[in-house]
Symmetry: C2
Subunit: 138 residues, 2 copies
Amino acid sequence: MYKYSIGDLARAAATKVQTIRYYEETGLMPEPMRTAGNQRRYDETALNRLSFIRHSRQLGFSLDSIKALLHLTDNPDQSCQQANQIAVEQLVEVESRIARLNDLRKELVRISQSCKGGTMADCKVIETLSEHSLCDCS
Amino acid sequence: MYKYSIGDLARAAATKVQTIRYYEETGLMPEPMRTAGNQRRYDETALNRLSFIRHSRQLGFSLDSIKALLHLTDNPDQSCQQANQIAVEQLVEVESRIARLNDLRKELVRISQSCKGGTMADCKVIETLSEHSLCDCS
DNA sequence: CTTGAACCTACAGCTACTGTAGAATTTGCA
DNA sequence: TGCAAATTCTACAGTAGCTGTAGGTTCAAG
């Protein structure tokens, strides 16, 4: 039943041991059972919860958003709309980040194409980095 | 000549006063002149340097990369190639971030489209976030 | 000359971990 | 069963790149 050590859990969810303890500290993971010698022991539920957290983190959700999502799952009668709302907000955020990065990419291309291979004295890269007025970025 | 207070500089470069002091602490900005009453006073050179730093930050360069670029400008005889190398590395990094974010976006779209508006008990959003196996992300 | 804005230093806090030290426990193998 | 190696424990410091605060001083306008 309570078969996983913290190291097992870490391996299974591709996390670090310290990260799991950190999640416990900050209330994302519940306090697990302990052995007689005070070591943590986990069950499948804990592994699922940790996987959920890690996957959400990979999708860019903040720990606060994840906390909110986990709180929602603890109240199964509430509307799914709130969970969806959090996901949509995250989507909006990701799309705006993509847009900004595309702008950056454009200017970086311009900068690196300006290099004519001379010395620093007439380096167009540095020059271009100095002139914010010319760039498209917000 | 030394006409800018730290507040003037902050306004001119759209930064916070504390950020300028932080850049000084970490060696990105040189220690400026001081008034008799110990307040910092800057000239145009300092403003140019700060603008360079801010613009580079907006393009996603780390403070370490910026330090390297600034170091290059202090040695005008060196090859421009090194500066270009840093810019190209940054470009590669930005492109990989864009690619990853595009993957995330795809999955977030899938997640938010799965919401059918019921209760949390059968929330597809949460379900989808739990199942890493189904997703495309790395 | 006064008053209020801006400045000073020093330090704590933010996110989301990661690393370290030194001690205790558990596990595998003889 | 005994022992060594691996793992775990707590507690705390450090990372990037700032940002905010407290308590005090200086500057500039009127």
